[in-house]
Symmetry: none
DNA sequence: CATGAATGAGTTTTCATTCAT
DNA sequence: TATGAATGAAAACTCATTCAT
């Protein structure tokens, strides 16, 4: 007890300023990679912290909750995706090109990386039980839908909504199957498959 | 000695025998409904047992593992689905009709009941982390694919595999979106959407 | 409910009379072999029942308790041992021969069978925590001691008690080591070792 | 930048660091005393944690397993014993003295404390069912044997191995009987008994 | 005589979270 | 800013035991 308050001579590292964004970022990435490794949302904070190379306590310091961290990771993945879609759209000139650009961005290589595919799938499942997550996902879903509709209307007219819904469902379906890693026919890549569908619809609309 | 094996006429209270199949069935159903309620595979054995109206111990008595129970539930859902597909196929005469029948069965009302949709989605996610589950799902996936291919070949020729893959992905995608409960456009039902796609492909094949 | 009380036509096997001793015996033997298999007293009633080829319920029918069964098994092993010692003593003529006979019986082949060695050791450990078992063991211990003392007195006089205690400890020690299965020097069998010790003591007594 | 690594003079409340070895030690001791109290290896982690004055969770924090804790406790007891033997040997000059020293150390008061005796016995029994434990014990057994042989050879020649085995078995036997708490003849202490045996063998060797 | 159904208490283990430093 | 200590609640799983038939 007597020793409890003492004067020590210590080495002190100047507190590292501005660590917050760095730590948060690395924890979010650790979360995604942990989800991929375990293949489910049942990841422990300990595992995440270890992957990020920080102590368990610190993970809790920067995120209020495990859920908070999960949601942040989800938001991160979705915003990365949105960024790619925005870039792709900007570089496209016509509605037809924009449709292709959106599809390509949705299935782009870094979107389809195993880690990201795992994360999407897990988040989809997670959304079923978490209203927060569900809301987040539906934002993305709706944005995709309205983006597609906007560019489909001049191409397929009244069927725009149906075609957009089909494209959306197909993208999700391809993710699911990719995540499952089964029936991946080598001769088929998702982009050709989806774009072929769009072409078919456009031709049909033209003929009618 | 002579009396040792005789036929007697006795009063007998219905013995409480043969409970095993009953209990197993009700536990499996409880599992599915619990998954739906919680929206994820993180269901406790306690919850399942409670839903089945039995003690926690009994659930462990009839299933070796939680995983055992999970897998049994998964198998149950898949076999129910297969049954429906088989029935639908039997009643169809032409390849074209069989395709429609498979699609209709896949999206039938009792397949698309909230409980079952939840379960499928959760199992898909679960499969990522569980090799057993993955194997199980891929059996179903492959069977669907080969069923479709078989009937598509006379209709779309060399594109059968691509079209079958698309249909498969679309079904999964529709499940996912249904499960998420978002962007459910009232005017669109999955069947029309999918069958429309098939029609388009057939027409295209005819023209070429 | 209406079916609950019905008249059935059943095959009925005349109740097997006198099964009790048979069942009890086979359950006791199953207990010993289960203990040997698991290597500890942590045997489940289920395992024992299975080994005895009867239902779990029946094991509880014939033995009030798990402890009851354990104690019965212990008593069984000890009485088998005592029987052998009694036989051996009867056939010996002189005190010296009786000592040897007791030792030989204690280390006889069927005493030293792996199953029995396991059981003894487990029971020794079990006795630490169970007053009943402790009492049982000490009966055997004391009987051995007094048997030995009685025959040692004419041979080693006042050191009889010490020599008897040493013999007793040595027997137990040999069991322990046998059970552990380590340091079993092939050239040494327990009997020669023990008898050699006795001979030494007798010679020493003679000289003094 | 220049200030980044500096020596500061700060007030500091004794950080609660380095608890690990303390906790581990106290948990190990709690394990031993719990084993003694219950008289068997069937000790619950809860009981151990309570005796150590920590939460159940903490016990699992510092030890991976219950088995891990058990084995650590076993290793602790054995290393304490080895330490004593080493010390005793160092202080002895002749082979004869070393033999006596080993025996004395093996039966020393703090080796023969009720707690330690219980633990040894329980571990012996436990070793039957746990290959890890068995390996550990046999290390100790073999070391004792070779220690004794080394010093017995000049005293009893070719019979060294036999005498060493006898001493080993006798030590174990005395532990067992001590643990059982029965037939503890007041006039006999284990040391005199064992040393007497050694003396007898040496004399016999001298005469022959 | 014999069984299988059923339970409840108890055990290990995991984990998010909090806290003092 | 960062850590390790510590907890408590909850999870899966086990098992002796009871009971109706």
């Amino acid at each position: 007890m007597a020793v409890q308050n003492t004067v020590f001579l210590v080495h002190w590292r100047m507190p590292k300023l501005g660590m917050e964004p760095i730590r948060r970022r690395s924890l979010v990435e650790a979360t995604i990679s942990a989800i991929h490794a375990r293949g489910s949302a049942d990841v422990t904070m300990r595992e995440i912290a270890a992957r990020a190379g920080v102590s368990l306590g610190l993970a809790h310091h920067y995120f209020e909750n495990k859920n908070d961290l999960m949601m942040t990771a989800m938001r991160f993945i979705m915003s990365e995706y949105s960024k790619q879609v925005r870039v792709a759209i900007t570089m496209a000139a016509t509605p037809r090109e924009r449709i292709s650009a959106i599809i390509r961005a949705s299935l782009a290589h870094d979107q389809f990386s195993p880690e990201v595919v795992s994360a999407w799938l897990v988040f989809y499942a997670h959304a079923q039980g978490s209203p927060d997550a569900r809301r987040l996902l539906s934002v993305y879903t709706r944005r995709l839908h309205s983006n597609l509709c906007h560019d489909l209307r001049p191409l397929v007219g009244g069927r725009a909504s149906e075609v957009a819904a089909t494209i959306g469902a197909l993208i999700d379906g391809l993710y699911v199957r990719e995540g499952l890693g089964t029936v991946r026919l080598p001769e088929l890549d998702g982009y050709r498959l989806l774009d072929g569908y769009v072409e078919l619809q456009i031709e049909a609309a033209r003929r009618s």
